[in-house]
Symmetry: C2
Subunit: 163 residues, 2 copies
DNA sequence: ATAATACTTTACTTTTTTGTAAGGATTTTA
DNA sequence: TAAAATCCTTACAAAAAAGTAAAGTATTAT
């Protein structure tokens, strides 16, 4: 489980466009220079972002790319999903079947369950974090399990929260 | 950002050993059959787990693998780190430098900052989840941001918690 | 001792991902 | 209408990851 190169570089390219806002266009080569990437590679990354609807392109002389929404309206989840797909494949158990036709745990897969929980958990962070947060270096504060237990106890709130 | 095949299959092999406990040995071929994997591949996965100290091997007739600690004492973080390394490379910015010698954002990299935060956040889930939790299908409940904000407000607790 | 069992290591092949190259299509400007 | 600028598409090359194969080493039972 790693952040891939395409995810990181793609995010960086999009942040360049987020910084200048939806009303400003930049060309591929401008973005490439800003990020220290090759023009063809930058082109590929922007193409992925365009197909996901995060940026728009205009061709011809004077053309370029602009971000389609403002930074506060794009989450890290939107970006990473566009660039790298979901953390857990939707049909994970039918894809990773080892040597067999079907996953040997197809009936009840505790591994798949826990990975799905992890994916949900990660998604919460990603959807809570917008490009604006990244540009402004806002850090979202998450509560550690022990902290909230303590607070709930102190506050006399019963600890029966849904996940 | 994806769970890799090695991470998933490696976890499954370790769970087989976790289920029978530290005092029971199973051979590679027994594990391979249980998980529907090839013997050589299973062998490779167990070798990785052994080098990480999560399982022990005994050679020769009657040999096999056993888990070194009981399920409650091994976390998902231990397992996934052994099989796939860290989510964010420690020297991420010096590795992903595009075409340049150094990352163009080396002085102050907001992307790296947010990815580090994500890694910390993920690590919390992974260290909170043990192999026993997976075997028993315990689900750890995490509080959503909006939920705890509401509770804190109701309880009159000031919302200044450290991450 | 020797054969059988079972792990270990190294190297190789296949597949996937990353990154590049080249020609094509579109728009603007003169 | 032609040239210049710019994005678009497809195919290819290189690198990394996944998975296999084969020969080696250690242990036990006979």
């Amino acid at each position: 489980m790693k952040i891939t190169a395409i995810e990181k570089y793609g995010l960086r390219c999009l942040l360049v466009l987020a910084k200048v806002g939806p009303d400003t266009q930049l060309s591929i080569s401008e973005i490439a220079v800003k990020e220290g990437l090759s023009v063809p590679y930058t082109s590929k990354l922007l193409s992925i972002l365009r197909k996901a609807g995060l940026v728009q392109a205009e061709r011809g002389r004077g053309g370029g790319f602009n971000i389609t929404r403002k930074a506060a309206d794009i989450t890290l989840f939107d970006v990473l999903t566009a660039l790298g797909g979901p953390l857990v494949e939707p049909h994970h158990c039918s894809r990773y079947t080892g040597n067999l036709k079907e996953c040997i745990h197809i009936d009840r897969c505790s591994v798949h369950d826990v990975l799905d929980s992890l994916a949900d958990y990660v998604q919460q962070f990603l959807t809570d974090t917008t490009l604006e947060d990244i540009l402004k270096e806002n850090k979202t504060v998450y509560l550690k399990k022990d902290d909230y237990k303590l607070i709930l106890t102190r506050a006399g709130v019963e600890n029966k929260l849904t996940g």
